[in-house]
């Protein structure tokens, strides 16, 4: 098991065999020791190359690149923080390639005002798998650069994975962001350094580079950014945010979603206030967000803590096609009654004197309709075909809070079906109209 040492202050043989003979740059260590499995950086290590930095880790998982607690103990017995790998005064990128685990290192981009000064993690033209723990990424340039995840040249393979655990990011300009390029990215415990600049938009995708991103258990409130995700990139990406602290009054998405195959953003239990149920789901068709306090049905859906809520479905000019509606999140009820017809009812509310028709909103239910197998059956109360004549969905007399409405219009969506197996009955409301509707996500079975 090779131990390799890196310390910018070392003045020995520069062969990495001890602290005294340490390499003076991490890039030199990785370039020479291609089979390195443990690289230790001094906590006082500070390299500023003044040129592009390419850190090429091995091509298989197993290498550890860690900041040591001190540069006197050999071999080190504890990890620490403080080591800085920096591009320095240059207009050049930092590229981190291959497979490695990083601990306690600050990666600092170039300081010149240049769009070249990106930091590219999970970079290269081969697969990459990188886990960063307790690391810091700094973008000191005031140019519109990014901390990028995935192959910057967009010519790499598809299997790029990057994980950030308890890492910090610091921005140097409002135009900077965390940018996804063709990678699976998991971010836990991210902190946005409040001593940096405030980006207008924290996350962004990149055209032609599909990505799958999870951000959870993070404090994103360090900088009062305006938008969480820029969805104005022509590519599919899936963004999941869970249990994060946010700045107040932000927009979850900004930019023009390119189309039905464009970015989808799912945000659950993220807020700037002490709430636990706020969610938002955004797609090309529109959004579905949580609604509490007002505009909820009496006796309707509640969260586990008893908080009553409804879905606020917001269609757009894109959600007007019968075959491509805005879809609500799924909601379900477990059913044990089989062999006889059931009617599932879901209540809706809109502030408009005109009733919604069955080509504009409908209920879709999936149930177990095949005896002997877990095969689902799907039924809806939509207009039958695109050539059918639309009809009003039924009016309803249930009680809703209608605060602020001038033409509260209550309707209900209903389907009747016969389950053949016990199991979950899963419902979704589909909206194919450029309007806003409140949905009680509670299935009444009768």
């Amino acid at each position: 098991m090779a131990l390799i040492y890196v310390d910018s202050a070392a003045s020995g043989a520069a062969n990495g065999t001890s602290w005294a003979d340490a390499y003076t740059t991490l890039a030199a260590a990785l370039a020479t020791e291609t089979d390195a499995d443990t690289v230790w950086l001094s906590p006082s290590h500070l390299e500023a190359t003044g040129a592009a930095v390419t850190l090429t880790a091995p091509t298989t998982m197993g290498c550890r690149i860690m900041c040591a607690a001190d540069n006197t103990t050999t071999p080190p017995v504890a990890v620490g923080t403080g080591a800085i790998v920096s591009v320095g005064t240059a207009s050049a990128a930092m590229s981190i390639r291959g497979f490695a685990y990083f601990y306690g290192i600050t990666f600092r981009g170039g300081t010149n005002v240049s769009v070249a000064n990106t930091i590219n993690v999970g970079d290269g033209v081969v697969a990459a798998g990188q886990v960063f723990s307790n690391c810091t990424f700094e973008l000191p340039s005031t140019a519109a650069v990014a901390l990028q995840f995935g192959p910057a040249a967009q010519a790499g393979t598809d299997d790029v994975f990057v994980k950030l655990r308890n890492c910090t990011v610091k921005f140097g300009a409002t135009t900077q962001s965390l940018k996804m390029l063709h990678a699976a990215v998991e971010i836990q415990g991210l902190t946005v350094d409040s001593s940096g600049s405030t980006p207008a938009t924290l996350f962004a995708g990149t055209a032609a580079t599909p990505s799958n991103i999870l951000v959870e258990a993070s404090d994103l409130s360090g900088e009062a950014f305006t938008n969480l995700v820029n969805v104005g990139t022509a590519c599919y990406s899936r963004w999941n945010f869970r249990n994060c602290k946010l700045p107040s009054s932000i927009s979850v998405v900004t930019g023009t979603n390119p189309g039905i195959g464009g970015p989808r953003v799912f945000m659950h239990s993220c807020d700037s206030a002490d709430t636990h149920i706020r969610f938002a789901e955004h797609s090309w068709q529109g959004s579905v967000v949580s609604q509490t306090g007002t505009l909820i049905r009496t006796g309707g859906a509640t969260q586990a803590d008893g908080t009553a809520f409804s879905f606020l479905m917001n269609g757009s000019a894109n959600s007007v096609h019968l075959w491509a509606p805005l879809q609500s999140p799924e909601f379900a009820v477990y059913n044990t009654a089989v062999g006889s017809a059931l009617t599932a009812t879901v209540e809706i509310l809109r502030d408009n004197v005109t009733a919604l028709k069955d080509n504009e909103i409908w209920l879709e239910v999936q149930y177990l309709g095949t005896s002997g197998f877990p095969q689902g059956s799907i039924i809806n109360d939509r207009m039958t075909t695109v050539m059918s004549t639309p009809a009003n969905q039924a009016s309803s007399s249930v009680t809703w809070d209608t605060t602020g409405m001038t033409n509260a219009n209550k309707q209900k969506l209903e389907v009747t079906f016969t389950p053949r197996e016990a199991g979950y009955i899963i419902a979704r409301v589909m909206l194919a109209a450029n309007t806003s509707v409140y949905v009680d996500p509670y299935i009444t079975l009768a």
Partner: protein
């Protein structure tokens, strides 16, 4: 260029905040929605006006292939 802007929806929440939807229409007929959960006392009408130049810059960037 944005030729009209409106507060399309104000949806009060349990803690006094309001869910806001702005709709902006461009001279090419495109609709842009901006949605956010506004803090108590937040001047969402003023924010909508302030946002117009930001959106126009964003539209210009998107049309420029950014």
């Amino acid at each position: 260029m944005i030729i009209s802007s409106e507060i399309f929806l104000v949806s009060p929440q349990a803690d006094g905040r309001k869910y806001i939807i702005e709709k902006h229409i461009t001279d090419s007929g495109r609709e842009i929605q901006v949605q956010y959960l506004a803090d108590v006392g937040f001047d969402f009408e003023a924010k909508m006006v302030d946002r117009v130049p930001e959106l126009e810059a964003q539209i210009a960037a998107e049309e420029g292939g950014e």
